[in-house]
Symmetry: none
Subunit: 144 residues, 4 copies
C-alpha cells in the first residue's frame, strides 16, 4: 500500500469537484440513514480542500476534526485509525498527531484511490460516534 | 442532551446547507461565464465553514484567501473591500488584517443577510481578478 | 447596515452579558467558600468570549485552561470531563485535544442550556483542584 | 508552596479584579452614551487578561481587536495609536504589529498607571469607530 501511495503522489492526480461532490452526497445519504449529522471534507493528495459540507445541526467542534481527518489520510494515505494504532503511548510513532499542524488519529479519515491504486485525495468525516463516522466515510469512498 | 445541542445550533441565525449550496452554484455559473476558476466558501455568522467548493484548476493559493474573505465578512459584516479602504497606511484601522487570525481586506467577501437585515453568514470568493471575485460573490448573494 | 448586523447577532441563541456576569458572580461565591482563586470564562455557542474574570492571585497558567475549558464545552456541548473519558490512550477519540486549536479534556467546562434544552454558551473554570473547578462551574450554571 | 505562589502574584504591580471591573463599568457607561456596543478587555502588565466583557450585540470581529489593543498597550505601555504612528510604511518600527503574536496599532488601547507612574496593566476597547473606542478607553482610565 505504501508503494502504491508513493507512486500516486508522483503522478499527482487529484479528484475533481464533481467526484468530490458525489462522494459527499453518498456519505450524507448514509449519515441520514444512521440519523447523524456530520461534516464531510474531501481534500487533494496534498491535504488541501476540494469540497466541504456541514449537515445542518452538526456539532461545531466536529468541523475541525473532519478537516483534520481528511488531511491526515491525505498526508499519510492510510485510514486515520491506523495512525491511531501506532501513535498510542509506547507505540512506534507516539505523538505524531502534533506534527503537520495537528493530525487526527481515530477513525473517519480514509485515503481515496483509483482502481489502479493511485491516491487522488482523502475524505474526512466527523460528527457522529467514531464507528458512524467510519461508516459514512466508507460509503462515500464506494462512490469513487 | 445531544439532540438538544443540535437543536439549539439550528436555532442560531445561520443559513442552512441547502441555501449555502444554492449560493455556491449561482456563483459558479457566473464564474464560468467570466471564464475563471474560483474557490467559494460560505460560513456562518461566527466565521465557521458551512460549505466550500474548489472549481477544478483553481489556484491553490486562492483557497486560503477565499476562506479568509468569508471569515472577514462574517466577523465584520461588511464587504471585505470596505475593510481594505480603512486599513491602508494612514487609515483609521491600519493593520487590522493581522487580527482574528488573519483577515483579507480586498474584494470578494460579502456578508449574507436576510430581507429583514439579519446577518446569517458570509461568502468568500477567490481565484480570479478581484473584480471577477466580487462579481461572483455578488451573483451568489442574489440567490439568497 | 451596521444596526442590522448588530441586531442579527442578538438573535443568535447566545446568553447575554447580564446573565454571564451573574453566573461568574455565583461561581466566585462558591470559590471563596472553597478557599480557591479561579479564572471563570463564559463563552457563546461558537466558543467566543462573552465575559471573563480572574480572581486576584489566581495562577497565571490556569487562565488559558479556563478559556479552553469553556471553548471545549461550547464546541462539544458536554462537560469537558466527558471528552477526557473518551480521549484517553486506547479511547475512541484519543488525541482529540489537539483539534480546534487545543481543547481541555478534564473537568471544569460545562455547556450552558436553557430550560428547553437550547445551548446558549458554555462556562470554563480553572485555578483550583479539578473537583473544586467543577464545583465552581456547577454552582455557576445553577444561576442560569 | 501554593500559598506562597499566590501571595507573590498578588505582590506584582497588577491592578486587582475590583479595579478592573470598575474601569469596565465606567467605559460601558460612556459607550452607552455614545450608542456603541464594545468589547472591553483589562490586562495585567504582562498582557494577560484580568477581566473582559462583551456588550450585547458587539461585532464578533472586534473581540480579538480589543484583546490585542490591551495587550499592545501592556507590552509597550503607550497608547496603541502611538505604535501606529511609528509603524506606518517608512516609519521607524514599520511592521511591528506582526511581533508578539500580533499587535494592534490604532487607537483604543491605553496603559494603566498609578499616580506615581507605576504601570499596573492596560485596557483595550473595540467595537465602535476608532475615536469612539478611544473615548471609551479614556473614560475607563479615569476610573482608576
Amino acid at each position: 500500500m505504501l508503494a502504491a501511495a508513493a507512486a500516486s503522489l508522483d503522478a499527482m492526480s487529484t479528484l475533481n469537484l464533481e467526484t468530490a461532490s458525489r462522494l459527499i452526497a453518498a456519505g450524507q445519504e448514509t449519515a441520514r440513514e444512521l440519523g447523524v449529522r456530520v461534516h464531510i471534507a474531501v481534500v487533494d493528495p496534498a491535504g488541501n480542500l476540494v469540497a466541504f459540507q456541514r449537515m445542518d445541526g452538526a456539532w461545531l467542534g466536529s468541523l475541525d476534526v473532519a478537516l483534520r481527518k481528511a488531511r491526515t489520510s491525505a498526508l499519510f494515505p492510510v485510514p486515520s485509525s491506523m495512525i491511531g494504532e501506532m501513535s498510542q503511548p509506547g507505540g512506534p510513532i507516539y505523538g505524531v498527531e502534533s506534527t503537520n499542524g495537528g493530525l487526527v488519529s481515530f477513525g473517519g479519515g480514509l485515503p481515496l484511490a483509483t482502481a489502479d491504486g493511485a491516491v487522488v485525495g482523502a475524505i474526512g468525516v466527523a460528527g457522529g460516534l467514531v464507528e458512524q463516522d467510519v461508516a459514512v466515510a466508507e460509503a462515500a469512498t464506494k462512490a469513487l
